[in-house]
Structure formats: structure tokens, C-alpha cells
């Protein structure tokens, strides 16, 4: 590759912007770790209520959404592998697949939440407040954490839409793709968070 196109300044930018992204992602990790510790303490104190509440969630939708998000991570990784090979057509295609899968995840989540809210299960909902305390705490954490995660998925979809535009117009290319790589790191982090949320909410016995 042309040495002049990758002068020292450019290389420094590349390493620096990736390090910056990782540092940001680690602060994001702690944003989720805080409420998850709260979850751990309440699950320890109200284990039967948590198990009862968890059995009310649909395992099928949980597994489906996990598979959807994992597949979106695959297409994200493939998109970056393609841009490094200079195949911008594939890069764009895989990005659009990632966006579609992310939107499908949000769509499923919308149906799941609608179903729960319609049956009175939401923070402060009358039907929920009549249930044991452990179940009320479970659903409080469930709506907070899946909601916070959903916002991250939405932000990721917006970010990847901008990246698609940049890829289509040539702003992201074989020589300059760190923005796409950083957007990909963000997307994978959102996936990692879900990898923990899924068993913690859907799989308690």
C-alpha cells in the first residue's frame, strides 16, 4: 500500500481512535455492570420471585432475538473483513443486513414489551404490584436493562446507517475504515451485553 497515504500522522490517528473507542466501550460496560450487580443482590434475596417472574417470559422469543443479534454481529464482522479487502459492494451489503437484523431485534422486543404492558406488567402497573415483591423487582430490572440495551441497539442502527451512507459515497474505503471498525466494535459490545441479559432474565429456574 502507498506509504505516503499512511504517513505517521495517519497511523497515529488510527491507533488513537481505536484506543479511544475501546475506552468508551469500557465505560459502557460499567454502565451495565452497575444495574447487573443490583440484579445479583435481589436475585440472591428473592430467588423464588425471580424464578417465577422469569418463567413468565417467552423463551422462544429470547432465543430468537439472541440468534438475530449474534447473526447481526457476524454480518458486521464480515462487513469489516470485506472493507479491508477493498470490496465496498460486500461491505455495504453486509452493513445493510446488520441494520435489518438490528431492526428485527427491536421489532421483536416491541412485540414482547407490548404483550407484557397489555397484561399490566410494567413498572408501577397495577397487575404487577399485586404480585410478590421479588417479581416486582425482577420486572423493574427487566424493563430498565432491556430498555437501556434497546436504546443502544437503536443508536447502533442509526450509527450503522450513517456508515452505510459513507461506504456508498466512498468516505469509508480500503484506505480509511477506522470509523466503520469503531462502529463495528460498538455493535459487538451491544451484542456482548445481550449475551449476558438473555440468560439472566430468560433462563432462571
Amino acid at each position: 500500500m502507498d506509504e505516503r497515504a499512511h504517513g505517521l500522522g495517519r497511523e497515529g490517528d488510527y491507533a488513537g481512535s481505536k484506543l479511544g473507542m475501546w475506552l468508551f466501550l469500557l465505560t459502557e460496560v460499567f454502565l451495565f455492570v452497575g444495574p447487573l450487580i443490583l440484579y445479583g443482590v435481589y436475585r440472591y434475596r428473592f430467588s423464588s420471585g425471580f424464578a417465577a417472574a422469569s418463567s413468565g417470559l417467552s423463551l422462544g422469543i429470547g432465543v430468537l432475538n439472541t440468534a438475530v443479534l449474534l447473526t447481526s454481529s457476524l454480518s458486521m464482522a464480515l462487513s469489516i473483513a470485506a472493507v479491508k479487502r477493498g470490496k465496498s459492494g460486500f461491505t455495504l451489503l453486509f452493513l445493510l443486513i446488520t441494520i435489518a437484523l438490528g431492526s428485527l431485534f427491536l421489532f421483536n422486543k416491541y412485540f414482547e414489551w407490548s404483550h407484557e404492558i397489555a397484561s399490566g406488567v410494567y413498572p408501577g402497573g397495577e397487575a404487577l404490584l399485586e404480585r410478590p415483591k421479588g417479581e416486582v423487582l425482577f420486572f423493574g430490572l427487566y424493563f430498565f436493562l432491556t430498555g437501556l440495551h434497546g436504546l443502544h441497539v437503536f443508536a447502533g442502527v442509526c450509527l450503522l446507517s450513517v456508515m452505510s451512507y459513507s461506504t456508498a459515497t466512498g468516505g469509508v474505503n480500503r484506505e480509511d475504515f477506522v470509523r466503520l471498525e469503531n462502529a463495528g466494535l460498538y455493535w459487538h459490545l451491544v451484542d456482548v451485553v445481550w449475551v449476558y441479559l438473555f440468560p439472566l432474565f430468560y433462563l432462571i429456574r
Partner: protein
């Protein structure tokens, strides 16, 4: 060209990792219904950690990184472990 910038994973490596992630998802779901609650309570977070490690190492391409980036993740894991241990010591023995 800086190290790490040129390195690239093969398409099929990513597909293989994805297949492993999907298998682990079904495994953890099956264990939660099949195994005892005690087994499941240990297996579910352990499998999640294996899945997270696969995503970080392969999808996030930590395998191509060197130096400080490689250290950041274990460092964060240790910090989280300390945080969890201290909180649970307080909760369990109060």
C-alpha cells in the same frame, strides 16, 4: 502501515465462530429447562462468558491487537470481579 491495520480475518473463521455462538445459545437454553436449577445457575453465566470471549476475541479482532488494548480487557474483567466480590461479601455476611 501500522501493525494490526492490515491484518484481516478470513470470512469462514467468522462463520465458524458464529456457528459456535448459536450452538452455545441452544445449549444454555436447553440446560435451563433440562438440568437442575443449581447446575443451570452456574452453567448459564459460564456459557455467557465463553460466548462473550468468542465475540471479543474473534469478532472484535482482539486477536490482531497488541500492547495496551490486549491488557485493557482482562484488567476490566478483574475490576468487575473485585466489584462483584466486595458487594456480595457485604450482602452475604452482613
Amino acid at each position: 502501515m501500522k501493525e494490526g491495520m492490515a491484518e484481516n480475518g478470513g470470512y469462514w473463521t467468522y462463520v465458524a465462530v458464529w456457528a459456535a455462538l448459536i450452538i452455545l445459545t441452544f445449549l444454555t437454553a436447553a440446560l435451563s429447562r433440562g438440568a437442575s436449577s443449581r447446575v443451570s445457575a452456574v452453567a448459564a453465566p459460564s456459557i455467557a462468558t465463553v460466548k462473550a470471549a468468542l465475540i471479543i476475541y474473534y469478532f472484535m479482532n482482539i486477536r490482531f491487537e497488541k500492547g495496551v488494548l490486549r491488557l485493557l480487557i482482562p484488567l476490566t474483567a478483574v475490576l468487575i470481579a473485585i466489584l462483584i466480590t466486595l458487594v456480595f461479601m457485604d450482602v452475604a455476611y452482613r
